[in-house]
Symmetry: none
Subunit: 214 residues, 4 copies
DNA sequence: CATGAATGAGTCTTCATTCAT
DNA sequence: CATGAATGAAGACTCATTCAT
């Protein structure tokens, strides 16, 4: 009995993984422009099986986003652990971009996914700490705040999405420029009011950028 | 006679404009995810009328892109005419972003549209001149080339698309940082090889980013 | 006044001819699978002009059939005038096939067209005379009647339609065989009852074969 | 298990048959001028069900053609097995016509359908054997070849299509004449060069005659 | 009268989702 | 539980015909 039940659970879990793996593959290849039936075929399961696990195609895509964000979070934690606090900010931003590039999820600006919500808080807190370290070390201009960092990472991610497949690595030049701009150096002040938490929430909640599928 | 002929063309032209206006509205609201029938309804014409002027939904979207690029080109020419050559580069980049923000075409990275093709050449040439001016005036670091400028503008446009509706003006902070990075100042060298013309062509030709419709 | 009126009538007549010529061309090229708009373009007139002359696309096609039948009738009359009465039947059948082949109206089994109706009577009468001549000369088996001749011509026409474009002239072998079968020679009797006038009417009126367009 | 699996397949198969039956009915009634939706309605299924089995309306029509050709082939094989070799040719031609008449597929000159392709070879080979038998028995004139037989059957089929619904059996008179012409008897030689294999291919491949749908 | 712009019903096809087996 | 068959609401596009200019 137990065995049977476990077997079932086991099979179910494996199926779930297969479906997610197939969906991820397809997402990497085509963005959200793939069919649920294609996922089923590639996963080697029936279409009904997918709908048993995921109520909706959109829910399936959400589930794709979760590990992506977990990997990002791991990256963020690693940067926090960097021995030289002053280096943490650049290390962090570069590592995030690198991770995004490696991850292969293109057109994957998935931050407003339901699953991303809980992760975002930890993420923001991490950024706050890292930025404070950089500031203490005099490695960042005074007028940027954690949300600026979020926007930078977001933008570079979009650039990676847009270009990495066509011309790999190009985004690095761009990232270099931005990091250069981040460093202190008697530069002209930023021309717009600081980004607030509320702004950030609005951004993340705003439909168009983040819409999945269709 | 002339009057009659023109009247006809007049009405037809007005309908054409109505269709384009409706399509633009819908594009601003939903990106390319709108129905030809919606366009017809909003324009107050039959569906056949749309297909009389535009052989395809995709052609209609192309036509949407055309004035957008023409406005960008006008902006570029204006920047070239700026009295102080050294100022031209920053003026140019800011003006392009501004124009894009004002234009309201969101998710509108339309550079690979058929209609954009002929405009691109003039655009690139303008950038070359402007960059040379800035370099002569010592206002830009030595290791950036015209294609870097193209990528910058492209990226900022994407950022505007993504954020301007949710939190207006935020993109300006980002742009400030990048412009700061563009200025000379003994900064760290760029970590990746320069972008070539061929890279640029690949970028622009790469389907996924720029594909309209579907 | 008169001049103007005549000019008008003249222009109108010429337009009518142009439309018919364009339609015929298109019919030869594509069968009935062409657009009214294509006719207008090729004729160099507006679409409204066509609808002024011909109430319907189908009526236009009918009008195409008229000269075709008139040519056939001329052919029939010529055969009647052949000096050797006994030769008239084969001459007639061959000439009809030839005329059909030359005419170039493919998939043009137009016998049930409204315009063909009045011509059919004269046609049948001609066949009757010709057949009587052949019979008097002992050049045709006794058990065929005028309607058999009609069916033969009809069938060969269909064969021409089907094959002449792909492999010209092949239909002649076939026609030879049939003519051979028509000649007297102690052959096996025909296995089916003679075709009556009523049969002929049914045939000609039967939809599927003759349907134009769509 | 097996039962379940087969049940599924069973129902699906039944639906498939229903769809084919409905399509055949409609084809008999209207030729290819019917709607996929009509098929669905008449078959009592959703439109999607049709598209699950047949990727295209054209593929559905192909599938209609398949059994038709298989029946023809069976007929051909039966004629080859006729005890008296000399009789085989006429038996064959008559049987083919008969089968076509009974089959009820009107306007069904479907020989260039994809599904017909593989059957054609066997068909031609059968005709060759049968013709040789007839020639050995002195029952056919010397100057006809297998392709002539093909053209004869094709033409008679067209005649059946055109007339059988309006006046049943009339085609038999015609067929009698042609068979008469096929027999030897010191008749006039055929006036055109023999039909070659290449001719036959051209014929079959020539679009206009055989094109299904639209 | 001529023109060609406008119309919109009708066609094929796709795909997320439900449901019988 | 798994399967994959069934569903049907859209969506893009065509074309005969009408009608304003």
């Amino acid at each position: 009995m137990t065995t049977t039940a476990e077997r079932l659970r086991c099979d179910a879990a494996r199926n779930r993984e297969r479906v997610l793996a197939a969906a991820l593959e397809l997402y990497r290849e085509h963005g959200p422009a793939f069919t649920v039936e294609e996922v089923a075929t590639r996963a080697g399961v029936g279409i009904g099986t997918i709908y048993r696990r995921f109520p909706t195609k959109s829910a399936l895509l959400d589930e794709l986003a979760r590990p992506y964000f977990e990997r990002l979070l791991t990256t963020a934690r690693a940067a926090q652990a960097h021995p030289a606090p002053a280096e943490r900010l650049e290390t962090f931003i570069r590592a995030m971009a690198e991770q995004h590039a490696v991850d292969g999820i293109r057109s994957g600006r998935l931050w407003d996914t339901t699953v991303a919500r809980p992760l975002r808080d930890e993420y923001i807190r991490a950024v706050e700490g890292i930025l404070a370290d950089a500031r203490a070390g005099g490695r960042v201009r005074a007028d940027v705040n954690p949300h600026d960092v979020g926007v930078i990472i977001w933008t570079v991610s979009a650039l990676i999405d847009a270009t990495d497949r066509a011309v790999a690595e190009i985004w690095r030049r761009y990232l270099d420029l931005v990091l250069d701009g981040l460093r202190p150096g008697g530069d002209q002040p930023l021309t717009t009011r600081p980004i607030t938490s509320a702004d950030w929430e609005s951004l993340v909640a705003s439909g168009p950028v983040l819409r999945l599928g269709t």
